[in-house]
């Protein structure tokens, strides 16, 4: 492949879960023409790793969205509360942050099990007629991961929201904006750097998760990290484990600079 040759050529690579596609384009006159094209189906026994990668990304995306949806109002209420209440809420968010991951996971196993409090409450409210499976499946993974990752979104967002002068929204209101449009056009845009930094941080952390999905997920909810650990510790397949680790590292390496730019603009110090 003339990847570094002088003639302008572009190589496109698509690694899918069922096939790997590659195409090379050469510039010809005003346009491009296809110089080479290849498609190679992935053997079924190797597809399992790409499936894990897909599951990893999917879980991370869902968790990031859920975290943003719940975390934004939390940070907003904290930022708008008075000094004392703001501090109390801040400590409330910080406390679970300090409690060991294993302890929180154990708590969720107890609460979400078939005889647990959540099932009991839903039964007595008449919302369900028999105990539901709330844990050891994807739902359990989402609940436990959002719980672990919420502070990573709420805290940076809160510190950004704290720095926005309230006068801005008052000024918008005095100029005739109704509260909704004042929020949307004046307040929300100023929180985007914090929201972006928080979401990227949550996503970066989520794709590396291992312990939580291993303990509250089913076998189809295991993420790429679990695969790496199993290959290394279970079957001593160091080569494959290292290859998957490098793949995961590349994913983080691609996302991290974007996060660094966001964090830089908000003045957060995260390294």
């Amino acid at each position: 492949m003339a990847l570094f040759a002088k003639a302008k050529s572009i190589v496109g690579l698509d690694i899918g879960s069922s096939a790997v596609k590659a195409v090379e384009l050469k510039s010809a006159g005003k346009g491009y023409r296809v110089a080479a094209f290849g498609i190679q189906p992935v053997p079924p026994e190797q597809r399992v790793y790409l499936d894990r990668l897909e599951v990893t990304f999917w879980i991370s995306i869902v968790v990031t969205v859920l975290t943003a949806v719940v975390g934004y109002p939390m940070a907003y209420v904290m930022a708008m509360a008075g000094k004392t209440w703001g501090r109390v809420l801040f400590v409330l968010v910080l406390l679970p942050f300090w409690v060991s991951l294993l302890v929180r996971t154990a708590a969720w196993v107890v609460l979400l099990q078939k005889e647990g409090i959540i099932n009991g409450a839903l039964l007595s409210l008449g919302l369900i007629s028999q105990p539901q499976q709330l844990i050891f499946n994807r739902l359990g993974v989402y609940i436990a991961m959002v719980h672990v990752l919420l502070p990573f979104l709420v805290l940076p967002l809160y510190s950004v929201m704290k720095s926005i002068p309230r006068d801005h929204v008052r000024a918008a209101a005095s100029l005739g904006a109704n509260p909704f449009s004042a929020f949307l056009t004046v307040y929300f845009p100023q929180t985007i750097p914090g929201l972006g930094a928080g979401c990227l941080l949550v996503f970066i952390l989520a794709i590396g998760f291992y312990v939580t999905p291993a303990l509250v997920g089913g076998s189809s909810d295991q993420m790429i990290s679990a695969m790496i650990a199993e290959l290394a510790l279970g079957t001593a397949n160091w080569g494959l484990a290292s290859a998957l680790a490098l793949l995961l590292l590349c994913c983080v390496a691609i996302i991290y600079p974007v996060f660094g730019r966001y964090a830089g603009t908000t003045g957060l110090r995260l390294g």
Partner: protein, 287 residues
């Protein structure tokens, strides 16, 4: 809470109420699991559901029995203490050096020091395992301490750097002009003023080690099983009530540590009258 204004239409009030409800549910969601398991740890019966059958301390006596949790607690505390000493020494020196000495490659060294915080823990654990295997450090106390130090150093570097950021170097110049040597100036001026940051870093280092399960999965032999490592096994097998008693005990420890950090934050705010070091650095804590 709507942004402002005495004239609030019903739509705006609904929106404000919705924000408060979601936020309220979020705060309940954060705390509920931690609070809900506290009564269960005093349950008289041997199953983990409400209603409680009498009050008993039997599960706590199981936690502090000679096996299996007490040796694990001892391992966690000793490994955590050794890690704290090592990581605080390395991280503090690194932070001072990076802040006050100009040398080529500073940025690269900063990135390398911080990287264990960003790189997924499994990758760090795998890399450390493969490196340590050739030195015979796998399944040893020293190996686990060194690995935890790698994980903990970034937190110390960040907290101490943040403190130094707010530290006025003219104080050192004033001390020197009054006749203090560099060491005396460091010991009597720099260190006391940056102590909250160093202490905060030390607490972070301890918690990082005390919380780690992934590195322990790779490096700990049965002799070095820490509390999280043993909990990981127990949670995979069967949930027995003594784990919940242990969990409540650990929650109490975490609450005390959080209190210490809040106190340090308050102190450092009083010392520097600046934005909190602890608050900013606690945003950087990773699971």
């Amino acid at each position: 809470m709507a942004p402002v204004g005495p004239y609030r239409s019903p739509g705006v009030r609904c929106g404000a109420a919705a924000i408060r409800v979601i936020a309220g549910l979020g705060f309940v969601f954060m705390l509920a699991p931690i609070i809900a398991i506290i009564p269960l740890s005093f349950n008289g019966a041997s199953y983990l559901s409400y209603p409680l059958r009498g009050v008993s301390l039997q599960w706590y006596s199981a936690v502090f029995a000679p096996t299996p949790w007490l040796p694990a607690l001892w391992n966690s505390v000793t490994i955590g203490a050794a890690t704290t000493v090592l990581a605080t020494a390395i991280g503090t020196s690194a932070a001072y050096g990076l802040a006050y000495v100009q040398f080529p490659g500073r940025r690269l060294i900063t990135v390398l020091l911080i990287s264990p915080m960003v790189v997924p823990i499994v990758i760090t654990a795998l890399a450390i395992y493969l490196t340590f295997a050739s030195f015979g450090l796998v399944q040893s106390f020293l190996g686990l301490v060194l690995a935890h130090t790698v994980l903990a150093v970034p937190f110390v570097v960040i907290t101490v750097s943040a403190t130094l950021h707010g530290f006025d170097r003219n104080m050192v110049r004033a001390a020197t002009s009054l006749g203090a040597g560099p060491l005396t100036a460091f010991r009597t001026v720099t260190l006391p003023l940056t102590a909250p940051g160093v202490l905060a870093g030390a607490v972070f280092a301890f918690v990082t080690s005390f919380d780690d399960v992934v590195v322990a999965l790779f490096l700990a032999g049965p002799e070095q099983f820490t509390v999280p490592r043993r909990m990981f096994n127990s949670l995979r097998d069967k949930l027995d009530p003594s784990i919940i008693a242990l969990a409540v005990f650990l929650i109490a420890v975490s609450t005390v540590l959080l209190g210490v950090m809040e106190f340090l934050r308050w102190r450092s705010e009083r010392l520097h009258n600046r934005t909190s070091v602890v608050m900013r650095s606690s945003e950087a804590r990773l699971p």
